[in-house]
């Protein structure tokens, strides 16, 4: 998704700006409306958990795998979360095969930050033998169709995949080996972060930019919120700037939208606390 290939007709850009000055958007949405969101979980049997989320025409599938491995030396009694994003070439004419692009690394790290900083996964429960072996949780983001706002789509798909993931129950034997049982258990999930991306186009803030809006925007900010409405991650990305008031407004909008999305799409999967 090198910037060189991003092309946007000036006339369309102007249309987006003109419509926004009347409070309207190219696809008829309100400024704080998401495109239609469709979710499907458990679509990949080989993964412990999986989810396909489409946000308008953007499609992302996330698969969860769990393996055993060594903990990090500075956190010897905690499991490890590893998030990776693949921009597969069939998702966009601008994606090419090859090593991960800056954009895919940023996407993976921003989704990772939302999950990690909200403590969505209770990593202490993923310890098998301190300093020797822990569970590694892999969150693999696979972009299938790119029509804007990969952050929110991927974060929602990741959370759905984690919430629906089932691993085999186990007991830790005296020698530290694992003995797996037949029953399946949920992953230890403690929070349900939602990421909300807001674009600044002209002097307007709009939620969930489409690809056409992404190519015309002045600046973009992604805000992750926990189940208690606390901010757990922020990333301003793309060129362009915000002023103080715009950031404060964006936080307010994100808070409201995160609550709506959590209620609508995650609630059914959250075990009673």
């Amino acid at each position: 998704m090198s910037e060189t290939f991003k092309i946007m007709a000036n006339i369309k850009k102007k249309q987006i700006y003109d419509l926004l000055s009347q409070g309207r958007r190219l696809d008829g949405r309100g400024l704080t409306d998401y495109r239609e969101i469709k979710i499907e979980t458990g679509i990949i049997d080989k993964a412990l958990g999986s989810a396909l989320v489409s946000l308008g025409k953007t499609k992302v599938v996330v698969g969860i795998k769990v393996e055993t491995g060594k903990p990090f030396p500075d956190k010897p009694d905690e499991g490890v979360l590893i998030t990776n994003a693949e921009f597969v070439p069939l998702a966009s004419p601008d994606f090419e095969p090859g090593p991960p692009s800056m954009e895919s690394i940023e996407l993976a790290r921003v989704v990772d930050r939302g999950i990690r900083e909200s403590k969505a996964i209770d990593t202490e429960k993923l310890c098998i033998v301190p300093e020797t072996s822990v569970f590694l949780v892999f969150v693999d983001i696979y972009v299938l169709d790119y029509d804007g706002n990969l952050f929110d789509t991927s974060a929602l798909a990741s959370m759905l995949a984690l919430l629906t993931a089932k691993m085999q129950d186990y007991i830790v034997k005296e020698n530290g080996n694992l003995e797996f049982k037949d029953e399946l258990i949920n992953l230890p999930i403690m929070d349900y972060p939602i990421e909300v991306t807001i674009a600044k186009i002209g002097d307007k803030l709009v939620v969930d930019p489409s690809l056409e809006e992404e190519l015309s925007l002045d600046a973009q900010i992604t805000i992750a919120l926990t189940k208690n409405d606390e901010i757990c991650a922020i990333q301003k990305s793309n060129l362009g700037t915000f002023n103080y008031e715009e950031v404060a407004d964006a936080v307010k909008i994100a808070k409201k939208k995160a609550r709506e999305l959590r209620e609508k799409f995650l609630k059914g999967y959250i075990a009673n606390e």
Partner: protein, 244 residues
């Protein structure tokens, strides 16, 4: 980490910066350069350009290609850092580029490249902020037209308190970190990241504190640039006099 009298482990108050020192133009071959010492952070920045873009197909007809590369030396951290660029360094390179580019008149240099190389020689928390602050000075030193200096500073939450300019230990053990960059003339925020846990009110307080921190660093930044040209002017004057 904050004692009863309100002092942090390194003796600072909640709203105090670590000591900051700049040096400008000490690299011979780079078109512009700057060195910053911010607490224990030691960072060197070299600017190359305006020059040809490599590889050529990346060049643009409407503006310069502006690229920053953030890189940490293997000896800059507690444990040796593998010199191959990590995912963290790649992300930081991207967001540092995006924080600085709004200040550069890239439209003046179509088909041209401006490359910034940032080398962290020693790190102690807040390297992205120090890097941005030094990069802006290096661009000024290279004579590249900019709208304003970009200046960065972080705030965060440690033991429930909002504090300015977190050191590495405070970042590791604290509850939140909020690095920002601004262009002080227009108050535009060109970098904004956060990780940790803040309520809306705490975020507002931390955000304001970070802006205040940026303003303090900005005056140091301007002063160092001014001093460099005063010393240059004096050097020229003495030379002229000795020739007379």
């Amino acid at each position: 980490m904050i004692d009863e009298a309100g002092f942090r482990f390194d003796g600072r108050r909640w709203d105090e910066l670590r000591p900051i020192k700049f040096d400008i133009g000490m690299l011979e071959k780079a078109n512009g350069s700057a060195y910053i010492e911010w607490g224990k952070n030691k960072i060197l920045v070299g600017v190359f350009g305006p020059r040809e873009v490599h590889p050529r197909h990346l060049s643009r007809v409407d503006k310069a290609v502006f690229r920053c590369r953030y890189h940490m030396a293997p000896f800059s951290t507690e444990e040796r850092k593998n010199p191959a660029p990590s995912r963290r360094e790649i992300e930081l390179s991207k967001i540092i580029t995006e924080a600085i580019e709004p200040s550069v008149f890239t439209e003046l240099y179509p088909r041209i490249g401006i490359d910034v190389y940032i080398e962290v020689l020693q790190s102690d928390g807040g390297t992205r902020c120090a890097s941005i602050t030094a990069t802006s000075l290096a661009l000024a030193d290279a004579g590249i037209p900019i709208r304003d200096l970009v200046v960065a500073c972080a705030s965060g939450k440690v033991e429930g308190q909002i504090v300015l300019d977190l050191s590495n230990m405070e970042d590791q053990k604290g509850e939140a970190d909020l690095p920002i960059a601004i262009m002080p003339r227009t108050n535009e925020v060109s970098l904004l990241q956060m990780d940790g846990n803040l309520t809306e009110d705490e975020f507002d307080k931390a955000f304001k504190l970070a802006i205040e921190g940026c303003r303090k660093v900005y005056s140091l930044q301007k002063e160092s640039l001014r001093n460099k040209y005063i010393s240059l002017k004096e050097a020229i004057n003495t030379e002229v006099k000795s020739e007379e």
